[in-house]
């Protein structure tokens, strides 16, 4: 079955979720929201999830709204978490998985949401770090972005707002014991991970219609490539059916990424 890139990404991200996860997403997160709902409806019926701004836990909204903060996410939810709960869960390791984006991501999984260029004289002032510090305290972090190019994937972030894997043991010791850090990166071209001795980013799979060379050329640093890189599995017909009939009934993900 034909599927859109956003649908492919959502399905790939749903495979990162486990049955015992308590996962969280922030603002403007239609792809991760779809991933969460799909996982709960397939292999992870005991998954719990929270949408940041609205505090909705286990929302059953039948349409992907533009904003995770939208009150309408409370439809069918089992709890309305105030911000205090969310921050408590973030610090204490109760959230086992979170999806995060970034303006820049570097080869060690560090994330930047603050600025492009020098902090004192930024070329682009970003929105701010929000909760990206918690990439160090969610048990697992899945990074995802809607673009894949060398401006986004840089050798070293201009401002480190979300910790990946510091190459300095004196910094790494500040990571809580329960945290594994970033476990994968999902983009419109490929999936990457950090299963390398020095935690450098590795190409795990390339999406159908794309090549290793293309992914490498769109990445601002050298990706680790272990032998032959597999194709990212395409969504099954059943996965696509669930997405289109039960989760994304208005077809947001079919139009999201051009």
């Amino acid at each position: 079955m034909e599927c859109s890139v956003a649908e492919l990404m959502a399905v790939a991200m749903s495979h990162e979720l486990r049955d015992d996860d308590f996962a969280a997403v922030g603002a403007a997160s239609q792809i991760p929201v779809c991933a969460l709902r799909l996982a709960q409806k397939t292999h992870a019926p005991n998954l719990w999830y929270l949408y940041g701004g609205s505090g909705a836990v286990n929302s059953k909204s039948k349409a992907l709204v533009e904003s995770a903060a939208d009150y309408r996410n409370l439809f069918g939810a089992e709890y309305r978490a105030p911000l205090m709960d969310i921050i408590d869960f973030e610090f204490s390791g109760r959230f086992t998985l979170c999806f995060f984006g970034g303006m820049q991501i570097d080869q060690y999984g560090n994330v930047n949401m603050v600025c492009i260029g020098d902090y004192e004289k930024p070329v682009v002032r970003g929105p701010g770090t929000v909760g990206t510090v918690f990439t160090s305290s969610f048990r697992r972090v899945v990074l995802y972005v809607q673009h894949h190019n060398p401006r986004l994937f840089v050798p070293k972030v201009d401002f480190l707002s979300g910790p990946g894997f510091p190459q300095d043991a004196a910094i790494e010791r500040y990571r809580p014991k329960f945290s594994e850090g970033p476990v994968s990166v999902v983009t419109p071209l490929a999936i990457m991970d950090f299963r390398t001795p020095d935690k450098r980013m590795r190409l795990r799979s390339v999406h159908p219609g794309h090549t290793v060379e293309e992914v490498q050329s769109q990445t601002g640093f050298e990706l680790v490539v272990d032998g032959t890189v597999p194709k990212t599995p395409e969504p099954t017909a059943e996965e696509l059916r669930i997405i289109r009939e039960e989760i994304d009934t208005t077809g947001v993900l079919r139009r999201l990424i051009e």
């Binding site: 397939t42 836990v57 709890y79 978490a81």
Partner: protein, 294 residues
């Protein structure tokens, strides 16, 4: 598609795995919303050496577990029987040194739990405890620290982490999404700080009933490990919005406790029964109905 797993189980199953020396916290304030069905099951379990972490205002459940011989240490903010007087077994045990006391107070217990629940290494309070004798009798808990912003003296207190929390609700679903009819007191604070959370409820309802009003859920099931259906689970205390405390029964407990005869109370109402069957059968006809709040 797999099925979602129910957390519903029996009183006995819920308390499985609580061993000697566990750190136990039960919710409630005075005679309000105490999880007595779960506490009675704990008495029946005959574990030993428990460390009790009561809420800032507790009494009955602590006194009963002390009488049952299950307790080695109590964190104390207020242990008493409110309008009835002091807690007799607690008082005897404290005066005879048969239990150890970890002397704290309301803000220390609250903020100690907050530290764990919020993932903070410790909490800093203004130095008002320095005006009392508390720091001198519990120096391991109250540590002087300097405010790095003002240079002033402050008091640091450590995180407090119960192994098991026991909480009762008016209703919940089988996944642990729970509602207090009397509004939230500190159920969330307790659950966040505890390694294992066991809840009981007057009524088990559908998840659809819960998700019809998600803003009224007091505790989300994601923080709950086991769910027990326990009607009159707060008796002889109050279950907010559903029934009032039974003063006659409380006085019976209190008088026996004062005379150091709590064992007779436990024999009659707690031991030798599967769950609360003996207790509910022993309550005079009409008493339970008369306590119900319309």
């Amino acid at each position: 598609m797999a099925n979602r797993k129910s957390k519903l189980c029996s009183l006995k199953e819920a308390l499985d795995g609580i061993g000697d020396g566990a750190k136990i916290m039960a919710a409630g304030a005075h005679f309000n919303n105490i999880p007595m069905a779960l506490v009675r099951e704990l008495v029946r379990k005959r574990v030993r050496g428990l460390e009790l972490i009561p809420t800032p205002s507790a009494g009955l459940w602590v006194d009963m577990l002390i009488a049952a011989g299950s307790v080695s240490t109590v964190h104390v903010s207020y242990i008493g029987m409110e309008f009835l007087g002091l807690a007799p077994n607690f008082r005897r045990a404290a005066e005879s040194k048969s239990i150890a006391i970890d002397e704290r107070d309301e803000p220390t217990i609250f903020h100690g739990l907050r530290a764990t629940g919020a993932g903070l290494p410790f909490v800093v309070l203004p130095p008002i405890h320095k005006m009392t004798d508390l720091p001198s009798v519990n120096p391991k808990v109250y540590k002087e620290i300097q405010d790095p912003f003002t240079g002033e003296t402050a008091i640091a207190i450590p995180p407090l982490s119960p192994d098991v929390a026991l909480i009762h609700f008016a209703k919940c679903d089988e996944y642990g999404n729970a509602v207090s009819a009397g509004g939230r007191h500190m159920e969330d604070i307790i659950a966040k700080a505890s390694k294992r959370v066991i809840i009981s409820a007057e009524q088990i309802v559908t998840t659809d009933e819960i998700s019809a009003t998600p803003t009224q859920t007091t505790l989300p099931g994601v923080m709950v490990d086991a769910v027990v259906h326990a009607p009159y689970g707060c008796y002889p205390g109050t279950c907010p919005g559903l029934y009032a405390y039974d003063r006659t029964h409380l006085e019976e407990y209190y008088e026996l406790a004062r005379k150091n005869r709590t064992q007779a109370y436990l024999d009659k109402y707690v031991y030798g029964s599967d769950g609360d069957a003996a207790l509910l059968a022993a309550i005079p006809e009409g008493r339970l109905e008369s306590l119900r709040i319309v």
